[in-house]
Structure formats: structure tokens, C-alpha cells
């Protein structure tokens, strides 16, 4: 689907077919807004909103540490801190 202006997309597909999609807007190297979607599993599910909130307003260089902290005490499959970071960096590289 075409993305609204200013939103860039990064994806990470796992071998088992699960997909992580990041749609984000940036202000320089700061993440302004971010939405993480896909057919993965994350327990507890509502943690995804917390992860998104934690990522808003941070510089791209801090993504790794923020994700690791925000995903503490979760169980996941089809997504991981590494794959989420890759998808975010891809979205950043593709920013308009």
C-alpha cells in the first residue's frame, strides 16, 4: 500500500515466514512516530504499545538499548529485539 507522506517503512521477514513491519516518521535522527505491525507473537500483547511509546522521541543510535529494555520480561516469536532494530534502521535509511 502507498504510505502517507513522510512515513517510511522497514521490514524484517523471518525464515518461518513471520513478518515485522515498521512504519515511522523521523525528525533528523529522532523517531517522531512509530507503528510496529506483523503476524508475530509477543506476550503480553499490550507491551507493543509500550515499546512504541518508548521508541518515540529517541535518537536512532539509542534504538538497540531502548528495545532491549522495553522487551525485558516478554516472550516472543516471529519478532526479536534484533529483527525490530533492523526494521527500524531500514525505515530510517528510507526516510524522505
Amino acid at each position: 500500500m502507498p504510505q502517507p507522506s513522510g512515513i517510511s517503512r522497514g521490514k524484517y521477514a523471518l525464515k518461518d515466514g513471520k513478518l515485522v513491519v515498521v512504519d515511522a516518521t523521523f525528525d533528523g535522527d529522532i523517531i517522531k512516530n512509530i507503528r510496529i505491525t506483523g503476524d508475530f507473537f509477543l506476550h503480553p500483547e499490550e507491551r507493543i504499545e509500550y515499546i512504541e511509546d518508548r521508541l518515540k522521541g529517541i535518537p536512532i543510535k539509542d534504538v538497540k538499548s531502548v528495545i532491549r529494555d522495553a522487551m525485558k520480561n516478554t516472550e516472543y516469536a516471529g519478532i526479536s529485539p534484533e529483527s525490530l532494530e533492523i526494521a527500524i534502521r531500514e525505515a530510517w535509511k528510507r526516510r524522505l
Binding site: M1, D16, G17, K18, V21, R35, I36, T37, G38, D39, F40, F41, L42, H43, P44, E45, I48, E75, A77, G78
Partner: protein, 245 residues
């Protein structure tokens, strides 16, 4: 273990999801519960983390009268028409959540065995027969309990499915259809001729064996239905919930 069984009918998507959640919320009062059910009209359910507009051709679904609903569980989009769905509500199991998928998938594997098919667990949440997916399953844990729901395909119709589900690029629609034909199977394709009503009994028996359970049927308190209705109207039928991502 005593396991309450609800042999249910085909219902609207919003009711189905509201009822499953209400059963989970009331676990401590109603005890372990297994429900087998279907969907009428046909529906697409998407995983908690998915975007409705990315997964579904919403206007086409409306034209065809297909209901659209977001689940409280993760995983992918499912077209519910030629299949049976189960939900099982239990006190939390020990160990990792993802490991417990395997235990509960045994219910479906047992049902398939009774129907003469050799099935096994594959990937995170699938059950396969002859290397092809026949059942998908998803679990959540909240309100002090666990809910796993999943489907078992009676028939598979990829062309009809991809008339409603989106693929990432229109050009690869044909590829998506042939990929589903290669990767997904159904009871009918495997030579098993069983209808929805009969299949309920096989699924229930499969879980009875998997959990070494004693089955019983009993009426549910009105408040379970009232809360399901509240969730149906105030959550699962709302644009706010279904299009929130």
C-alpha cells in the same frame, strides 16, 4: 481435570471473540472450558499486531458480507468459512508460553489421528499433515488464565481467500494463491469427508485425550453471556478496536 464443553453454533465474528474473552475473564467461576464453534457470516480475523487495512481489502469484504475482527491473540490473518474453530480456557500452565502451544496443539493432532491422518506440530503455531498446514493456533494469557484458539480447515479455497485478503503487491496475487495451494491443506484434500457438526465431536475428543480430562456440559450463568455481549458491542464490533493498528 474436569473440562466443560460448549458445543456451539456458527456466530458473528464479534460475538465469537467477545464470548471467548468472557469465558477467559470468568475462568475462576466456570473452570477449564473448551468451546467448538464456527462463523456466520464468514469472517476474517487478524492477529493483535496486524493492521486491518494492510491485511484485508476492506471494501471487498463489505461487498461480500464478510465480517472483520481483530483478535486478542497474535499471529496472522485467518479466513473463517470452511473450517471449525476451538477455544480452550485453562488456568495458566507452567513454563514458557510458546512451549504450551505444543501441548494444546495435541488436541488437534489427536482429532486428526482419529480421522486417520498423521499430524504433527510445525513452526510456532501450526499443525501439519503431509508437510502442509491444516491448523493454525494462537494463545494469550491474561486475567489469571490462558486462552488458546485455533482453526482446523475442512476445505481450502485460496482464490476466494485472496479475493478478500491482501498480498503485498497485486502482481504477486497469483503467486500467493499457488503458494497457499502448496503449503496449506484441508481435511477434504486429505480425503476426509466430515462435516462441521461431526468434526466438533472429534475435536472435543482430541482435547479430552490430550488433557486426560473428564468432559461435562452445563449451562452458563447469564452474566457470562451478558459480558460477552458487552464485549461484542463495545469492543469487537468497533472501528476503534478493529482498525487500531
Amino acid at each position: 481435570m474436569e473440562l466443560r464443553v460448549i458445543y456451539d453454533d456458527k456466530h458473528r465474528a464479534y460475538w465469537n471473540m467477545g464470548f471467548d474473552e468472557s469465558l477467559l475473564v470468568h475462568l475462576s467461576e466456570i473452570g477449564p472450558t473448551l468451546r467448538v464453534y464456527g462463523w456466520n457470516p464468514p469472517a476474517v480475523s487478524i492477529g493483535y499486531f496486524q493492521s486491518m487495512e494492510e491485511e484485508v481489502n476492506v471494501s471487498r469484504a463489505k461487498e461480500l458480507g464478510v465480517d472483520l475482527v481483530r483478535r486478542i491473540t497474535g499471529g496472522g490473518a485467518v479466513y473463517h468459512k470452511y473450517e471449525i474453530t476451538y477455544s480452550i480456557i485453562l488456568p495458566n500452565l507452567k513454563g514458557r508460553i510458546l512451549d504450551s502451544y505444543h501441548l494444546l496443539d495435541t488436541g488437534i493432532i489427536n482429532a486428526l489421528k482419529s480421522l486417520g491422518l498423521e499430524a504433527k506440530q510445525a513452526g510456532i503455531n501450526d499443525v501439519v499433515v503431509n508437510g502442509k498446514k491444516i491448523s493454525g493456533n494462537a494463545q494469550t494469557r491474561k486475567y489469571g488464565g490462558l486462552l488458546q484458539h485455533g482453526t482446523l480447515l475442512i476445505e481450502v479455497h485460496p482464490e476466494e481467500m485472496f479475493d478478500i485478503l491482501r498480498v503485498s503487491d497485486e502482481k504477486i496475487r497469483d503467486k500467493a494463491i499457488s503458494s497457499v495451494k502448496q503449503r496449506v491443506t484441508s481435511l477434504r484434500e486429505q480425503g476426509v469427508d466430515v462435516d462441521f457438526e461431526e468434526l466438533k465431536k472429534y475435536v472435543v475428543q482430541g482435547f479430552k485425550e490430550a488433557l486426560n480430562a473428564r468432559l461435562y456440559e452445563d449451562t452458563l450463568d447469564k452474566k457470562i453471556y451478558d459480558y460477552a455481549h458487552k464485549l461484542e458491542v463495545e469492543k469487537y464490533a468497533t472501528t476503534e478496536w478493529n482498525f487500531k493498528r
